[in-house]
Amino acid sequence: MKHLFTTITVLLLSCASFAQNNNAFKAGEKLTFSAAYNMSGILTDIAEVKMETSAVNTSGTTLYRLKCSATTYSNFDSFFKIRDLYESYVNPKTVAPYLYQRDISEGGYYKFVKYKYSYKTNTVSSLIRKKSKNFASGFWDRNNTIKIKPGTRDIVSTLYKLRTLDIHKAPVGASDTFTVLFDNKEVKCSFKLLGKETINTAIGRKECYKIAINVTNNNVLKGSNANIIWLTADENKIPVYAKFKIAVGSGELKIKSATGLKN
């Protein structure tokens, strides 16, 4: 359960090898999903997941703030309350992250992670903060500098980067691997384009790219080709549906609404 929303976010990752500008989303986009847990074939809605974009002005430039949040429904709050927040401040054109923040609160467990990217030195300054009674501040902090490979991203920016890729140019069966920094470790994430499929969603009947995701060096996602994401086969490439398998079962992510779309 603790990894469920991490899994949901990781699940949404995928990549192709073409670099291009962002024509998939703009500031002000808001996608809302419902996350359901599958037990013995019965789906139970447990949380709402939101993905929002906004423009952020600094003294020198304008960046995009990509925000993903997960909130359990009120009837689950007294059993396992989740209030997760994932943020990434990115280049509006290339979706390269400059600052990533993960602030999670899951059933009493709290963790804060911050990554500051430096592309000149290919390093990331990381801060991991947890609650601890052993310190006067009430928090245990660990600062690190991590050497990263060029192209390494965070979860949120990778998800949005995926939407900017020319998936229509990739042949069915094409697969690729990319690197994501998660919990100070570089995780290899591979994807495979399984083809196109038309599915019914809350925002209408959509033709979608069906993409299988596989994560190596990490035990969050289970099974091969058991984690699949459906992206609309248009310019927006909205994630409309996802199926995932984790250690404690499986689940689904379904879109509820989409506003502020670019195309």
């Binding site: 013995s40 139970t44 909130t71």
Partner: protein, 110 residues
């Protein structure tokens, strides 16, 4: 055999009641149906042997309550997000801090 089905029926019925009360109420349908199946088997055997069926009837009663409660919750429960004040507060603080951090970063847009 009759005792086993009777015990299974009771256990499943109690499990169904517990699940029906919890947020995972949709799962209560599985043990409720199992309790019903085991209960019917036990009921038929008891009737054949001219034995008391009181315990089976208790099991049936529990199943009816569990099914009723689960069905009611399935139909009438509206999924709403709970209190997000704390999350919004954290979000605001994080954004303010992030803006300060971004000012210090060397950002070159292509």
């Amino acid at each position: 055999m009759k005792k086993v089905t009777l015990i299974l029926s009771l256990v499943c019925a109690i499990l169904a009641i517990i699940l029906a009360i919890l947020p995972l109420f949709k799962l209560a349908f599985i043990p409720a149906i199992l309790a019903l199946v085991f209960g019917i088997i036990s009921f038929i055997k008891s009737r054949k042997d001219n034995q008391s069926t009181h315990v089976v009837q208790v099991s049936f009663l529990l199943v009816i309550i569990a099914l009723g409660l689960s069905t009611y919750k399935t139909v009438f429960t509206v999924q709403e997000v709970g209190n997000t004040e704390e999350l919004e507060q954290r979000e605001k603080e994080n954004e303010e801090k992030a803006l300060e951090e971004l000012e210090d970063l060397d950002i070159e847009l292509d």
